[in-house]
């Protein structure tokens, strides 16, 4: 692809942009430019991703043998810290805080978010929370599982529960502030002509995400405070010997943590809509349905938490309602998958790297979503909950779905962010390695789960050995797959060929009306929107529905 591009005009480096506008650490650490803050997030999130990934590598090494490589306590800490770091410090902020932060103002034709300083504050809060959690790691770790179930966490565990919980508590505020900023920005900062029905679907999905962040995150904060009160002051909230109720913790925890799953996946869907449209050169099929399915997911996501409690002794009638709602939330997700697929129909489909990731997302997210139905079906859930089936299911959604979309998005907007092109051959190779490694890691875990291997087992019976070895083999491939893009993207950032303004001939303000890389205030001339989103066919019409 890059060979057919126009040679960049000479002197593009000389042009002022947000990267060369200023140098020096102060210009980064005190910036209020949403693009620079996005990069601060990008580097910190990548760091956390590789820390969390290192724990995963150690876990898979441990599980190579049925008796394990390390002692049980060490393994228990490994999966706990893998979970906490990946969920709260990678998945939740990943796309919104990096790509969302960078792109939302540009996509709606604004020069920044509504509250630039709050945006910077949210990054500091995130880092502050991260420091607490890393302190818990350095000082010996936590062993409660990322779910912090009481009364184990409040009374029995003798690890650094409070430090880790404070880290999660603090980082939650970063998430709330980002969400708040997005909501206000999307409502108030759209440029002339950018009506709601012309918004890119990226923005719609981030809007839905932001709603969940603002409404859901306070509940995990409250839950962790209550946990701390019980652990430190022995207030009887969750521990029955103090007069508390352990099931209450599970309700509170999942009231946030199930919607949080959609905080993690909706931004992935946001990226998907952009990728599929651009690389099919077509308007997204059923724009209105895709836009509103994001809102549908956001609303329904708050009504399904009880499906984590089918075996906990929750009333069976309550379970029945939660089972039904959990099936219902699958419908808007299915609508999205069908619409992306239909967008490709009669398109002009490029096989560039971001689109390869999009293919991967569609396939793997479909499998992750369908296995979610197994878990929503109560009689099946009784057998497979708390087994490796669940692990496989949510890794198909989170890694197969969300991380694929994130990688696709990073490649797609890499020229926009850096002004340079990445090496296409290496990128395709890495995408393939990641796809193969991912499936080899997690597919065997579905089988392990139905065979009955419980999750969070430091040791396991001999009959599960072969499948565990397969999974570890896959993980080593997957690990390599993630390191390759790290290397060539870092290289291309300095040495890649310069990118033209719109290397993919993509639609959207960020590509069409903003220079690459963008100037500090995003647009040289105030943008105006005169056509619907994804107007790849160039038809001037305005019968957009939705």
């Amino acid at each position: 692809m890059s060979t057919t591009l126009q040679p960049p005009s000479p002197g593009i480096e000389a042009k002022a942009n947000y990267l060369n506008a200023d140098y020096g650490w102060k210009s980064w650490l005190f910036t209020t430019d949403h693009k620079r803050i996005a990069l601060l997030y990008l580097f910190s999130i990548t760091t956390f991703f590789f820390i969390g990934g290192a724990f995963a590598v150690l876990m898979r090494i441990h599980l190579l043998s049925p008796e394990g490589m390390f002692d049980n306590d060490t393994y228990n800490k490994l999966f706990t810290m893998h979970g906490i770091i990946m969920v709260f410090f990678f998945l939740v902020p990943s796309i919104p805080a990096t790509l969302g932060n960078f792109l939302i103002p540009m996509m709606i034709g604004s020069r920044d978010l509504a509250f630039p300083r709050i945006n910077l504050l949210s990054w500091y809060i995130y880092i502050f929370g991260g420091i607490f959690t890393l302190m818990a790691v350095v000082r010996g770790g936590v062993d409660t599982g990322w779910t912090f179930y009481a009364p184990f966490s409040s009374t029995y565990s003798n690890t650094h529960v409070i430090l880790a919980a404070v880290g999660v508590f603090v980082s939650g505020f970063s998430s709330i502030l980002t969400g708040l900023n997005f909501i206000v920005t999307i409502h108030k900062m759209r440029c002339p002509g950018m009506t709601w029905s012309r918004l890119p679907l990226f923005v719609w999905a981030h809007y839905a995400t932001a709603l969940i962040q603002v409404l859901g995150t306070p509940v995990i904060a409250i839950t962790l405070v209550l946990l701390g009160l019980e652990r430190i002051l022995h207030a009887g909230i969750f521990d029955p010997t103090l007069g508390g109720d352990p099931i209450l913790f599970q309700h509170l925890f999942w009231f946030y943590s199930h919607p949080a799953v959609y905080i993690m996946i909706l931004p992935g869907m946001a990226v998907m809509s952009e990728l599929v449209a651009c690389y099919s050169r077509k308007r997204i099929f059923g724009y209105g349905f895709v836009a509103f399915s994001s809102l549908g997911i956001a609303v329904l996501s708050f009504l399904v938490w009880g499906h984590h409690l089918f075996v906990s002794g929750q009333s069976m009638y309550a379970s029945m309602v939660f089972s039904f709602m959990s099936m219902a939330v699958a419908v808007p997700s299915a609508i999205k998958v069908f619409n992306w697929t239909a967008t490709m129909y009669r398109g002009s489909i490029s096989w560039d790297t971001p689109m390869l990731y999009a293919f991967g997302f569609i396939g793997l997210f479909t499998m992750g979503g369908l296995t979610g139905l197994f878990l929503a079906t109560m009689a099946i859930d009784v057998h497979v909950t708390d087994t490796y089936f669940v692990i496989a299911h949510f890794h198909y959604v989170m890694v197969g779905g969300m991380v694929m979309a994130y990688m696709g998005g990073l490649h797609f907007w890499f020229p926009k962010i850096t002004g340079r092109l990445y090496p296409e051959g290496w990128a395709k190779f890495a995408a393939l390695v990641i796809f193969v490694g991912f499936n080899l890691t997690f597919f065997p875990q579905f089988i392990l789960g139905y065979l009955g291997m419980p999750r969070r087992y430091a040791t396991y019976p001999e009959e599960f050995h072969l499948l565990n070895v397969m999974s570890t083999a896959g993980a080593s491939i997957l690990g390599v797959g993630y390191v390759i893009p790290m290397i060539y993207l870092a290289w291309a950032w300095r040495n890649g060929p310069l990118s033209p303004q719109n290397p993919w001939k993509a639609k959207g303000l960020e590509w069409e009306q903003s220079p690459t890389p963008p100037p500090t205030f995003n647009f040289d001339t105030p943008p105006i929107v005169t056509e619907p989103a994804y107007n790849y066919s160039g038809e001037v019409e305005e019968e957009a529905h939705g």
């Binding site: 184990f152 109720d245 099919s280 039904f324 219902a328 009689a379 009784v382 009955g452 396991y460």
Partner: protein
């Protein structure tokens, strides 16, 4: 490893039914996955970009298609929902009568089983073939989960309440018990075996006897030891209500409610008597035993109280018309 199967052994009445439902879901899941994969690949190849100047025609969308691919999946999900819910209620509602009751206590990191006749086992559970067995699950400390993959059943064991777990074994053999809810250091070693025996063999296993007498006898000893007997006089009215024929019957409370006297109610009334006051008795009459008797002792006391209410004849079982909430026993 021998022959490789994606199904664990089937050793209970529920296992086959769960597998059948699983088979249906697999069929739907694989079908859908193939459909999506095939469409993506077909489109990706058929409509592969020929020239950088391609300008595909605009397609807005299609309301009939949107409705089709919303409604059909929804209907298929309804089938899953109804089937799964029906089976769940069946697998989670023990038969009202004729079950063999065994008492299980989970503690970090072992399973302790008590048979009514007094036998105790650790990480082993012997049960007869072809008879419904009801386990009453209690936890001494944190949340555990009692899981037998060969039966396709699991239930959390929650401190502070009793949960029930029932099954009918259909195949002789030894099957694994796992703790499925993370409970600390040796969570992965909190495992055991359930041994399914011929009923006759089970009877003779039971007749091996127990040094300390049946569970009810042990419970009676505790009943004397903790001084319960001085108020709860069995044959007459003492300071506290008589416990004869209480278990399995509705109890009218001071606040006008009626509750079913099940295992959870008895446990709660020992641990925290003020939680539910029987009509006509004052508060704070009975000392609080919270934290004084371990879960195994509590189960023995419960069995003793149970033994004071001989199994009701079939008729009265029907009149106990309240279909007690099959959910959380608390």
């Amino acid at each position: 490893m021998g022959s490789f199967s994606i199904f664990p052994e089937r050793a209970s009445t529920s296992a086959g039914e769960v597998d059948a439902l699983y088979g249906f879901l697999l069929l739907v899941g694989i079908g859908m996955t193939l459909l999506i994969f095939a469409s993506v690949f077909f489109f990706a190849i058929k409509y592969r970009r020929k020239s950088d100047n391609d300008r595909p025609k605009l397609i807005h969308g299609s309301l009939p298609l949107e409705i089709t691919w919303s409604v059909i999946p929804f209907l298929v999900m309804l089938v899953m929902f109804v089937w799964g819910t029906k089976l769940y209620f069946q697998n989670y509602t023990p038969p009202r009568q004729g079950t063999l009751d065994i008492y299980v206590t989970g503690k970090q990191w072992m399973w302790k089983m008590q048979h009514p006749t007094g036998q105790r086992e650790i990480n082993e559970l012997h049960v007869p073939l072809g008879r419904p067995v009801k386990l009453i699950l209690a936890s001494e400390d944190v949340v555990h989960s009692f899981y037998i993959p060969a039966f396709r059943l699991k239930h959390d064991v929650v401190p502070g309440s009793y949960e029930t777990f029932w099954f009918e074994a259909t195949k002789l053999g030894r099957y694994r018990i796992f703790c499925a809810e993370y409970c600390g250091t040796d969570h992965s070693r909190m495992t055991g075996w359930v041994t399914v025996m011929e009923p006759a063999a089970y009877e003779s296993w039971l007749s091996g006897g127990s040094a300390s007498g049946s569970m009810a006898e042990q419970g009676e000893k505790l009943f004397q030891q903790y001084g319960c007997a001085s108020c709860h006089i069995t044959e007459a009215q003492g300071r506290g209500p008589s416990l004869r024929n209480v278990f399995g019957h509705p109890v009218v409370l001071e606040d006008g409610r009626t509750v079913m006297a099940d295992e959870a109610y008895i446990r709660e009334s020992i641990q925290n008597p003020n939680a539910k006051i029987v009509k006509g008795y004052p508060r704070d009459l009975m000392p609080v035993f919270q934290g004084q008797i371990d879960e195994e002792g509590l189960l023995q006391l419960v069995v003793y109280v149970k033994s004071l209410s001989p199994p009701a004849p079939a008729k009265s079982a029907v009149t106990a018309k309240d279909v007690s909430n099959p959910g959380r026993a608390k």
